[in-house]
Protein backbone atom coordinates (compact mmCIF):
# COMPACT_ATOMS: atom_id res chain seq x y z
CA UNK A 1 0.00 0.00 0.00
CA UNK A 2 1.48 3.34 -1.07
CA UNK A 3 0.15 6.82 -0.46
CA UNK A 4 -0.03 8.94 -3.63
CA UNK A 5 1.98 12.18 -3.62
CA UNK A 6 0.76 14.87 -6.04
CA UNK A 7 2.87 17.73 -7.35
CA UNK A 8 1.34 21.18 -7.79
CA UNK A 9 3.79 23.88 -8.91
CA UNK A 10 6.40 23.99 -6.11
CA UNK A 11 4.25 22.08 -3.69
CA UNK A 12 3.57 18.46 -2.93
CA UNK A 13 0.07 17.50 -1.82
CA UNK A 14 -0.76 14.37 0.08
CA UNK A 15 -4.16 13.27 1.30
CA UNK A 16 -3.94 10.22 3.53
CA UNK A 17 -7.09 8.24 2.89
CA UNK A 18 -6.08 4.81 4.01
CA UNK A 19 -5.77 3.11 7.37
CA UNK A 20 -2.16 3.79 8.31
CA UNK A 21 -0.30 0.69 9.35
CA UNK A 22 3.34 0.92 10.38
CA UNK A 23 4.78 -0.23 7.05
CA UNK A 24 2.65 2.16 5.02
CA UNK A 25 3.69 5.03 7.30
CA UNK A 26 7.41 4.27 6.97
CA UNK A 27 7.08 3.75 3.21
CA UNK A 28 5.31 7.12 2.94
CA UNK A 29 8.13 8.80 4.88
CA UNK A 30 10.71 7.46 2.41
CA UNK A 31 8.56 8.21 -0.64
CA UNK A 32 7.99 11.81 0.44
CA UNK A 33 11.68 12.53 1.03
CA UNK A 34 12.55 10.99 -2.36
CA UNK A 35 9.85 13.07 -4.03
CA UNK A 36 11.09 16.28 -2.37
CA UNK A 37 14.59 15.46 -3.53
CA UNK A 38 13.51 14.62 -7.07
CA UNK A 39 11.05 17.47 -7.59
CA UNK A 40 12.74 20.29 -5.70
CA UNK A 41 9.47 21.10 -3.97
CA UNK A 42 9.66 23.83 -1.34
CA UNK A 43 6.40 23.14 0.42
CA UNK A 44 4.36 20.09 1.40
CA UNK A 45 0.80 19.76 2.70
CA UNK A 46 -0.17 16.49 4.36
CA UNK A 47 -3.94 16.36 4.77
CA UNK A 48 -5.22 14.11 7.56
CA UNK A 49 -8.96 14.78 7.16
CA UNK A 50 -9.70 11.09 6.56
CA UNK A 51 -7.42 9.80 9.30
CA UNK A 52 -9.44 8.80 12.35
CA UNK A 53 -6.62 7.46 14.51
CA UNK A 54 -3.06 8.62 15.14
CA UNK A 55 -1.23 6.52 17.70
CA UNK A 56 2.22 7.23 19.13
CA UNK A 57 4.01 5.45 16.30
CA UNK A 58 2.21 7.30 13.52
CA UNK A 59 2.66 10.58 15.43
CA UNK A 60 6.40 9.91 15.59
CA UNK A 61 6.57 9.13 11.87
CA UNK A 62 4.64 12.31 11.01
CA UNK A 63 6.69 14.48 13.38
CA UNK A 64 9.91 12.99 12.00
CA UNK A 65 8.91 13.53 8.38
CA UNK A 66 8.28 17.22 9.13
CA UNK A 67 11.76 17.56 10.65
CA UNK A 68 13.41 15.53 7.87
CA UNK A 69 11.73 17.57 5.14
CA UNK A 70 12.77 20.74 6.94
CA UNK A 71 16.37 19.52 6.89
CA UNK A 72 16.07 19.11 3.15
CA UNK A 73 14.65 22.60 2.75
CA UNK A 74 10.94 21.89 2.35
CA UNK A 75 8.31 23.19 4.75
CA UNK A 76 5.53 20.79 5.76
CA UNK A 77 2.10 21.74 7.03
CA UNK A 78 -0.27 19.13 8.50
CA UNK A 79 -3.92 19.87 7.84
CA UNK A 80 -7.35 18.54 8.75
CA UNK A 81 -6.52 16.91 12.08
CA UNK A 82 -9.88 15.66 13.38
CA UNK A 83 -11.15 16.72 16.83
CA UNK A 84 -10.97 13.11 18.11
CA UNK A 85 -7.39 12.80 16.88
CA UNK A 86 -6.38 16.06 18.59
CA UNK A 87 -7.91 14.83 21.87
CA UNK A 88 -6.20 11.43 21.77
CA UNK A 89 -2.82 12.94 20.88
CA UNK A 90 -2.95 15.15 23.99
CA UNK A 91 -4.08 12.15 26.11
CA UNK A 92 -1.05 10.31 24.78
CA UNK A 93 1.12 13.24 25.84
CA UNK A 94 2.10 14.09 22.27
CA UNK A 95 2.01 17.81 21.54
CA UNK A 96 3.67 18.13 18.11
CA UNK A 97 4.45 21.71 19.06
CA UNK A 98 7.03 22.40 16.38
CA UNK A 99 4.79 21.09 13.65
CA UNK A 100 2.95 23.69 11.55
CA UNK A 101 -0.75 22.87 11.21
CA UNK A 102 -3.82 24.35 9.56
CA UNK A 103 -7.54 23.65 9.61
CA UNK A 104 -7.84 22.39 6.05
CA UNK A 105 -6.01 22.06 2.76
CA UNK A 106 -6.89 25.61 1.69
CA UNK A 107 -5.61 27.14 4.94
CA UNK A 108 -2.57 24.89 4.69
CA UNK A 109 -1.63 26.28 1.29
CA UNK A 110 -2.09 29.85 2.59
CA UNK A 111 0.13 29.03 5.56
CA UNK A 112 2.80 27.53 3.30
CA UNK A 113 2.79 30.61 1.11
CA UNK A 114 3.24 32.79 4.21
CA UNK A 115 6.01 30.60 5.62
CA UNK A 116 7.82 30.61 2.30
CA UNK A 117 7.09 34.34 1.85
CA UNK A 118 6.04 33.98 -1.74
Amino acid sequence: MRIPILKLHNYLLISIQTELDDKTAIQFQEDLLEKIHGSGATGVVIDLTSVDIVDSFIAKVLGDVVTMSDLMGAKVVLTGIQPAVAVTLIDLGIHLQDVPTALDLEQGLIKLRQELEE
Binding site: E19, D22, D52, I53, V54, D55, S56, A84, D91, L92
Partner: protein, 133 residues
Amino acid sequence: MSDQSCVYIKKEWDIVAARQMGRDIATKVGFGTVDQARIATAISELARNIYLYAGSGKICFEAIETVQKKGINIKAIDEGPGISDLAQVMEDGFSTSGGLGAGLPGVKRLMDEFDIVSKSGEGTTIESTKWLR
Protein backbone atom coordinates in the same frame (compact mmCIF):
# COMPACT_ATOMS: atom_id res chain seq x y z
CA MET B 1 -24.21 -10.00 29.61
CA SER B 2 -20.93 -10.30 27.86
CA ASP B 3 -19.48 -11.08 24.50
CA GLN B 4 -15.79 -11.77 24.07
CA SER B 5 -13.68 -11.80 20.92
CA CYS B 6 -9.94 -11.84 20.38
CA VAL B 7 -7.45 -10.76 17.72
CA TYR B 8 -4.16 -12.61 17.60
CA ILE B 9 -1.14 -10.34 17.15
CA LYS B 10 1.54 -12.01 15.03
CA LYS B 11 2.28 -9.55 12.27
CA GLU B 12 2.22 -5.79 11.85
CA TRP B 13 -1.14 -5.69 10.07
CA ASP B 14 -2.78 -7.41 13.09
CA ILE B 15 -2.30 -4.11 14.97
CA VAL B 16 -4.69 -2.48 12.48
CA ALA B 17 -7.09 -5.46 12.64
CA ALA B 18 -7.18 -5.24 16.45
CA ARG B 19 -7.96 -1.54 16.56
CA GLN B 20 -10.63 -1.87 13.85
CA MET B 21 -12.36 -4.64 15.79
CA GLY B 22 -12.08 -2.61 19.00
CA ARG B 23 -13.59 0.41 17.32
CA ASP B 24 -16.48 -1.67 15.97
CA ILE B 25 -17.25 -3.02 19.43
CA ALA B 26 -16.92 0.46 20.96
CA THR B 27 -19.37 1.80 18.37
CA LYS B 28 -21.85 -0.96 19.18
CA VAL B 29 -21.58 -0.23 22.91
CA GLY B 30 -22.55 3.36 22.08
CA PHE B 31 -19.31 5.35 22.50
CA GLY B 32 -19.05 8.68 20.66
CA THR B 33 -16.37 9.47 18.08
CA VAL B 34 -13.83 10.88 20.55
CA ASP B 35 -14.06 7.87 22.88
CA GLN B 36 -13.99 5.52 19.87
CA ALA B 37 -10.70 7.16 18.85
CA ARG B 38 -9.39 6.90 22.42
CA ILE B 39 -10.24 3.19 22.59
CA ALA B 40 -8.84 2.44 19.10
CA THR B 41 -5.63 4.34 19.94
CA ALA B 42 -5.21 2.50 23.25
CA ILE B 43 -5.64 -0.84 21.45
CA SER B 44 -3.10 0.22 18.84
CA GLU B 45 -0.54 0.98 21.55
CA LEU B 46 -1.19 -2.32 23.38
CA ALA B 47 -1.05 -4.35 20.16
CA ARG B 48 2.17 -2.67 19.06
CA ASN B 49 3.78 -3.41 22.42
CA ILE B 50 2.92 -7.10 21.97
CA TYR B 51 4.30 -7.10 18.43
CA LEU B 52 7.49 -5.21 19.35
CA TYR B 53 8.39 -6.74 22.68
CA ALA B 54 6.72 -10.15 22.92
CA GLY B 55 6.58 -11.10 19.24
CA SER B 56 3.09 -12.52 19.54
CA GLY B 57 0.07 -12.48 21.79
CA LYS B 58 -3.57 -11.54 21.68
CA ILE B 59 -5.97 -8.71 22.38
CA CYS B 60 -9.39 -9.66 23.69
CA PHE B 61 -12.41 -7.41 23.83
CA GLU B 62 -15.51 -7.67 25.88
CA ALA B 63 -18.57 -5.46 25.85
CA ILE B 64 -19.63 -5.20 29.47
CA GLU B 65 -23.10 -4.37 30.60
CA THR B 66 -24.20 -4.18 34.20
CA VAL B 67 -27.37 -2.72 35.63
CA GLN B 68 -25.71 0.65 36.22
CA LYS B 69 -23.23 1.00 33.36
CA LYS B 70 -21.89 -0.14 30.03
CA GLY B 71 -18.35 -0.25 28.81
CA ILE B 72 -15.61 -2.06 26.95
CA ASN B 73 -12.94 -4.21 28.53
CA ILE B 74 -9.67 -4.84 26.73
CA LYS B 75 -7.15 -7.49 27.67
CA ALA B 76 -3.68 -7.62 26.10
CA ILE B 77 -2.05 -10.96 26.81
CA ASP B 78 1.38 -12.16 25.81
CA GLU B 79 3.88 -14.78 26.88
CA GLY B 80 6.88 -12.62 26.11
CA PRO B 81 9.89 -11.75 28.27
CA GLY B 82 7.82 -9.70 30.73
CA ILE B 83 8.58 -6.23 32.04
CA SER B 84 11.28 -6.06 34.70
CA ASP B 85 10.60 -2.52 35.93
CA LEU B 86 6.89 -1.67 35.84
CA ALA B 87 7.36 1.80 37.32
CA GLN B 88 9.80 2.67 34.53
CA VAL B 89 7.50 1.65 31.65
CA MET B 90 4.73 3.79 33.12
CA GLU B 91 6.93 6.89 32.90
CA ASP B 92 6.27 9.27 30.04
CA GLY B 93 9.09 9.22 27.55
CA PHE B 94 10.66 5.92 28.56
CA SER B 95 11.29 3.67 25.55
CA THR B 96 13.69 0.90 24.65
CA SER B 97 12.64 0.85 20.99
CA GLY B 98 13.33 4.42 19.90
CA GLY B 99 9.63 5.27 20.17
CA LEU B 100 8.12 8.25 21.93
CA GLY B 101 7.61 6.34 25.18
CA ALA B 102 3.99 7.47 25.13
CA GLY B 103 2.44 4.00 24.87
CA LEU B 104 1.55 2.61 28.29
CA PRO B 105 1.19 5.90 30.22
CA GLY B 106 -0.89 7.05 27.23
CA VAL B 107 -3.16 4.00 27.41
CA LYS B 108 -3.71 4.68 31.10
CA ARG B 109 -4.85 8.24 30.32
CA LEU B 110 -6.99 7.19 27.34
CA MET B 111 -8.90 4.56 29.33
CA ASP B 112 -10.66 4.67 32.73
CA GLU B 113 -9.21 1.61 34.43
CA PHE B 114 -5.77 0.15 33.86
CA ASP B 115 -4.10 -2.85 35.43
CA ILE B 116 -0.82 -4.49 34.51
CA VAL B 117 0.59 -7.81 35.67
CA SER B 118 3.96 -8.94 34.42
CA LYS B 119 6.32 -11.73 35.39
CA SER B 120 9.85 -11.86 34.10
CA GLY B 121 10.14 -14.72 31.61
CA GLU B 122 6.42 -15.52 31.73
CA GLY B 123 4.66 -12.68 30.04
CA THR B 124 2.49 -9.65 30.53
CA THR B 125 -1.24 -9.13 30.89
CA ILE B 126 -2.72 -5.68 30.70
CA GLU B 127 -6.39 -5.17 31.43
CA SER B 128 -8.10 -1.90 30.74
CA THR B 129 -11.69 -0.67 30.79
CA LYS B 130 -13.49 2.34 29.40
CA TRP B 131 -16.95 3.18 30.72
CA LEU B 132 -19.70 4.80 28.75
CA ARG B 133 -20.66 8.11 30.32
